[in-house]
């Protein structure tokens, strides 16, 4: 498994908000070591049985947390992420959506500088089934450990794929929702590289969407021999109309990349079978075992 394991000790930033407290509860129910929460000005309270602190630094000092999950509203979220990085946390999972892209650009680079791994923003988080969950993925469908590593750029589609794979008998080592925003922390390729080094993971399922170049870069990494484990792909948006253009610049940068056809061609060119439906993913995985 990667990113989260039995040593993961989590603080919840924004724990006094409705999403923060609800998902703190769900994580605890799943068995995650949620050791505290942070909401400035609300230190001293206790929520869902864990202590609330005024600052991440204090929370880390008192609980030994090594991971944080951020539920703070978008306009304050960047500040919360910087706080988590400055407190030296190794992993920060940013659930919040609608964070300004310039903010994300800053904290993603700052995290790299300081050695913090960021997952998200705008992501469902990370789960190592039966061991630990740092995210909002529904507990009920994650009850099967196994050899599949899932990387997904889409939130709910992640659950869909995990569910269908578990139903087909394939548990997961870790499921990583890398987030759907234009700028995110670890991306599809970096996550695939982690799975490549993880002994438990025997096969990688990469769930993409139209737009961006994550799948194209994944194909390249496979062709370059950086990823040798079998990969099965799925890309949502085969029938979607083209989205808003980012000016001529967008067209010049992408040069046709980002389309469904382009992504499928790239992946197939790297020997990655691409399923047409989520259910077909399970079929393609089965063929490889």
């Amino acid at each position: 498994m990667i990113l989260v394991n039995s040593n993961t000790k989590v603080i919840v930033q924004g724990i006094t908000g409705s999403e923060g407290s609800r998902h703190a509860q769900y994580m605890l129910q799943y068995g995650t070591k949620v050791v505290g929460g942070v909401t400035p000005g609300k230190g001293g309270q206790s929520i869902v049985g864990v202590p609330v602190f005024d600052s991440v630094e204090e929370a880390v000092a008192k609980t030994g947390a090594n991971t944080s999950i951020v539920f703070v509203p978008a306009r304050f979220a960047a500040d919360a992420v910087f706080e988590a990085i400055d407190a030296g946390l190794g992993l920060v999972v940013v659930i919040t959506e609608h964070i300004p892209i310039h903010d994300a650009l800053k904290f993603v680079n700052y995290a790299k500088y300081r050695g913090t791994t960021i997952v998200g923003p705008n992501c469902p988080g990370v789960i190592s089934p039966t061991v630990s969950k740092v995210g909002i993925l529904p507990n009920s469908i994650y009850n099967k450990k196994g050899p599949i590593g899932i990387i997904s750029r889409s939130g709910t589609l992640t659950y869909e794929l995990s569910f269908l794979l578990s139903q087909a008998g394939f548990g997961q080592s870790t499921v990583v929702g890398v987030g759907g925003d234009p700028v995110t922390g670890i991306d599809t390729v970096e996550t695939a590289m982690m799975f490549e080094k993880d002994d438990e993971t025997k096969l990688i399922v990469a769930v993409g969407e139209i737009g961006g170049d994550a799948e194209e870069r994944l194909a390249k990494a496979i062709l370059e021999g950086k990823i040798t484990k079998p990969v099965v792909g799925f890309i949502a948006g085969r029938t979607a109309p083209p989205g808003k253009r980012m000016g001529h610049a967008g067209a010049i940068v992408s040069m046709g990349m980002g389309t469904y056809a382009g992504k499928v061609e790239a992946l197939r060119g790297a020997g990655v079978p691409v399923a047409k439906t989520p259910l077909e993913v399970a079929k393609l995985v089965k063929e490889r075992f």
Binding site: H98, I101, T156, Y159, G212, T239, M246
Partner: protein
């Protein structure tokens, strides 16, 4: 959000980038003397290909300008009602450049794209002559640095005092990018006039929707590119795109919603919409979304595909119940419900006698059967 041309020009002008002499009007009566004719009358719309759509015209005098403006201001193009028209004097252009600044998502930094061959065919230039496109990245921790601007100037073949003036344009674009949370600042063409000045002939600025809270001086309705439909969806709290088919689709999350559309197509159906209720939708949002589709006469059946994470099955179920209570069940509804509070949702939906599916495939298969059964 894409700013209308005139607003983009105003922002850049504030930072020192010249624009043609002109005026913005919202009524033909506002056109008086003061401009030197002929002028270009440009409908302020937030999409490309304006010239080819006849939305830029030349006017030789006030009367002609008023006539064109009157024509434009009545129009709704691509769901966008034209509310502003820009009148501009012509400029004696010697050469046209292309330049833009944007976010390089892959490398997590900023990117300058530019070409000494600007104008409407810039994408062709990029395709046919990639060597004529300058690509220069810079890191947010370094900021825009002179050395990169110098390389750009050299590439563009600009010399002497014009090099200094061009550098000012580039730094102005950078400041707008930073100060206004822009995702794109594009000047095309940036014209060099006969008398050696740089003028922004057309400007496209896209401001990050998520950062609008920091920019109170941007008026979303007046200056933005939102269509009526988008303004309504924004108010309702979901993301909606109309499509040509007859099967209504509701999903939570863009990926799952798109995958649901793909699945419908795979089984031979035609989606009538893309409707994503987003993450953690309230019952009100679900209710508005379903109501919209139930009232749409084109739609023969509705497929709701929910896999709850932050979205809760009970909220979805309440929203569905309320919509049906209000509008009535005019067409078959197929619901797939999994994830957070799935059980609670099923219980709430039980009185409606709608079958709740465990997988999307089963739901789509039954939906297609029902359509074929009564349609074919």
């Amino acid at each position: 959000m894409r700013l209308l041309e005139y607003k983009g020009k105003d922002l850049l002008y504030k930072y020192g980038v010249e624009k043609p002499r002109g005026m913005v009007i919202s009524s033909p009566d506002q056109i008086g003397q003061g401009l030197k004719y002929p002028v270009f009358v440009k409908a302020q719309v937030p999409f490309a290909g304006r010239a080819k759509m006849g939305l830029v015209k030349r006017a030789n005098n006030v009367d002609e300008a008023r006539a064109v403006a009157r024509d434009y201001l009545g129009k709704v193009i691509q769901d966008f009602p034209i509310r502003k028209v820009l009148l501009e004097e012509g400029s004696p252009i010697k050469k046209e450049y292309y330049i833009s600044m944007t976010v390089d998502r892959t490398n997590e930094r900023y990117l300058i794209l530019a070409s000494p061959e600007g104008g409407i065919d810039i994408e062709e230039v990029a395709k046919e002559h990639p060597e004529k496109i300058f690509r220069g990245g810079f890191h947010p921790f370094a900021g825009l640095r002179d050395y990169l601007v110098n390389e750009l100037i050299k590439f563009m073949g600009i010399q002497g005092t014009q090099a200094r003036d061009f550098a000012k344009v580039v730094y102005a674009m950078y400041q707008v990018m930073m100060d206004y949370d822009a995702e794109l600042v594009e000047i095309n063409p940036l014209a060099l006039t006969e008398d050696g000045k740089f003028i922004a002939i057309d400007v496209k600025i896209m401001v990050d929707d998520n950062a609008l809270f920091r920019h109170g001086d941007i008026n979303v309705e007046e200056e933005g590119d939102l269509t009526r439909e988008e303004l309504e969806a924004r108010a309702a709290g979901f993301h909606y795109v109309e499509l040509p088919g007859d099967i209504g689709i509701i999903g939570n999350g863009a990926g799952l919603t798109m995958a649901t559309m793909d699945l419908v197509k795979e089984y031979g159906g035609e989606p009538a919409d893309f409707l994503d209720i987003g993450g953690g939708a309230s019952r009100d949002i679900v209710k508005s979304a379903l109501t919209l589709l139930l009232k749409d006469a084109r739609i023969r059946a509705v497929l709701i595909n929910i896999f709850g994470g932050i979205t809760r099955g009970d909220e979805v179920a309440y929203g569905v119940t309320e919509a049906i209570r209000e509008v009535g069940v005019s067409k078959p509804i197929f619901i797939r419900l999994k994830g957070t509070n799935e059980e609670e949702g099923r219980k709430i939906l039980a009185p409606l006698n709608i079958k709740i599916y465990d997988t999307a495939e089963e739901a789509v298969q039954d939906l297609m059967k029902s359509i074929r059964g009564d349609g074919k």
